[in-house]
């Protein structure tokens, strides 16, 4: 199985004509990797895509969060990150009055939300006042490593779409690595298995085709 070029922290990155971007630091006008990961070259840029890294909040990311704590006007939300996020009662579609937050979201509930504000010290606020943003009522939540999320989604969403079609489930992928899967229990199990394979083999080439084959075979079995 072919893999991309792997680098370790401190390894020199040959940028060539491309501009260095994420995951590296400069020293004496040379670039070195900050992560254990793979080199990713696009048209203009070189990035180091880490195999693992904590999720850091970014504005407009659509994420899945878990309610951790309830205050008089705000919920504290776990967003699969070292940093907690906050959800203010006015950023919800409901008419919440202060001190009455538990009626709407309890500790342990999950929400699909957008990060509306994030600052340089990684404080963030999320909002439910957007299209499609809501409380997640049924289904199961799994978590994958945040850097694997783009691979789970695939180019233009094709990876997640084939998983959805072949397993007949509803899936929402939060950009923070939490994934919501809903449907028949057996289908949900199959979808989760498929996502785990993508997470494991994210750094290999030609994964989408292999996954389609795998899913076809799985469907053919019953």
């Amino acid at each position: 199985m072919e893999t991309k070029k792997i680098v370790y922290p401190g390894d020199k990155i040959e940028t060539g004509d491309l501009k260095p971007r994420n995951g590296m630091y400069e020293s004496n006008s040379e670039f070195f990797s900050e992560y254990f990961g793979v080199i990713q070259e696009s048209e203009k840029f070189v990035d180091v895509a880490p195999f693992n890294s904590p999720y850091l909040p970014r504005v407009n990311d659509k994420i899945i969060g878990k309610i951790m704590d309830i205050g008089p006007t705000m919920w504290t939300v776990d967003i699969n990150s070292p940093y907690y996020s906050l959800l203010h009662m006015n950023d919800t579609p409901w008419h919440v009055s202060s001190g009455d937050l538990e009626r709407y979201l309890k500790v342990g509930d999950y929400v699909y939300a957008r990060i509306s504000v994030s600052n340089e010290i990684k404080e963030s606020w999320i909002s439910l006042r957007d299209n499609g943003m809501r409380k997640l009522e049924t289904g199961r939540i799994i978590s994958v490593k945040p850097p694997k999320v783009p691979r789970v989604i695939g180019k233009g969403g094709n990876m997640i779409n084939i998983i959805k079609t072949y397993t007949d489930t509803k899936i929402i992928v939060g950009q923070n690595g939490f994934i919501w899967v809903d449907g028949e229990i057996d289908n949900v199990k199959k979808a989760i298995d498929a996502i785990r394979i993508v997470e494991k083999e994210a750094h290999t080439i030609g994964l989408t085709d292999r996954m389609e084959e795998y899913l076809k075979k799985m469907k053919g079995e019953n």
Binding site: T3, P9, E34, Y35, N52, S53, Y84, I121, K122, H203
Partner: protein, 240 residues
């Protein structure tokens, strides 16, 4: 006691049959603790150490550093990890090791990338056989890289010392107990910057230089083991 104990055999090898500049076998494995962000298990000779790394918002809030992360390594020895039972809990020695390991790791981690955060490094020594601070640091550095915490380099460490009047690499338990000096050192291999250097005992300047150059020679070999440990987790998956 000193002088009575023979640490170098007549054939010039050490008691365990190693040459002067030979290390004990090292084995590192990553991803051994599921719920940790990163983890590593190291077997360095008879040392067995497990390390788990967690990244989170520093708590309590007043302990947070507004513009960078803090690194908290906690070295802990199991009661029966040593010949004579060690009374559990922190003591002067373990607190010292926690401190030097934290500081060595801090110089490798890109702290500014994780403001207000805390990188918790839990080091549990299951079996100790000389050189645990360096083994802990070597494993911690792998565990931190496994956690995906941005690092400038993988910290790598090694020890040397003086036994029976001779400079030897990677002291064994007997050489540590009955030798004349013990020098642990850790560096950032890319730049060669020293991030940990301690000396316990007596050596001349010449012997000290000899010890450090011996260690510098051994560092790339340990570095290679660290890298292979990180890689193993992914190549296994390739083999499917």
């Amino acid at each position: 006691m000193e002088g009575n104990i023979k640490l170098i055999r007549d054939d010039g090898l050490r008691l365990d049959g190693r040459a002067n500049n030979e290390m004990r076998p090292i084995k590192i494995q990553t991803g051994v603790v599921d719920r940790a962000d990163g983890s590593a298990f190291i077997e360095w000779g008879a040392n067995k150490i497990i390390v788990a790394v967690y990244v989170r918002e520093a708590y309590p809030k007043h302990a947070q550093n507004i513009d960078r992360a803090i690194v908290k390594a906690r070295y802990n020895m199991s009661g029966y990890s040593v010949e004579e039972r060690k009374r559990p809990g922190p003591d002067r020695r373990t607190m010292e090791i926690s401190k030097v390991v934290s500081e060595a790791l801090s110089s490798a981690i890109v702290l500014e990338k994780l403001p207000r955060a805390e990188v918790d490094v839990f080091i549990q020594v299951l079996e100790a056989d000389a050189g645990t601070r360096i083994a802990s640091l070597t494993a911690s550095s792998v565990a931190v890289a496994d956690a995906g915490v941005p690092m400038r380099d993988l910290v790598v460490g090694c020890t040397a010392g003086k036994a029976d009047g001779k400079i030897v690499l990677d002291l064994s338990k007997d050489e540590d107990n009955f030798g004349q000096a013990d020098i642990p050192m850790a560096i950032l291999p890319r730049t060669g910057k020293v991030v940990l250097l301690q000396l316990d005992g007596d050596v001349t300047e010449e012997e000290f230089n000899q010890a450090t150059s011996m260690m510098m020679e051994a560092m790339p070999r340990i570095s290679e083991i660290q890298r292979n440990a990180l890689m193993d987790k992914y190549s296994l998956e390739d083999g499917e």
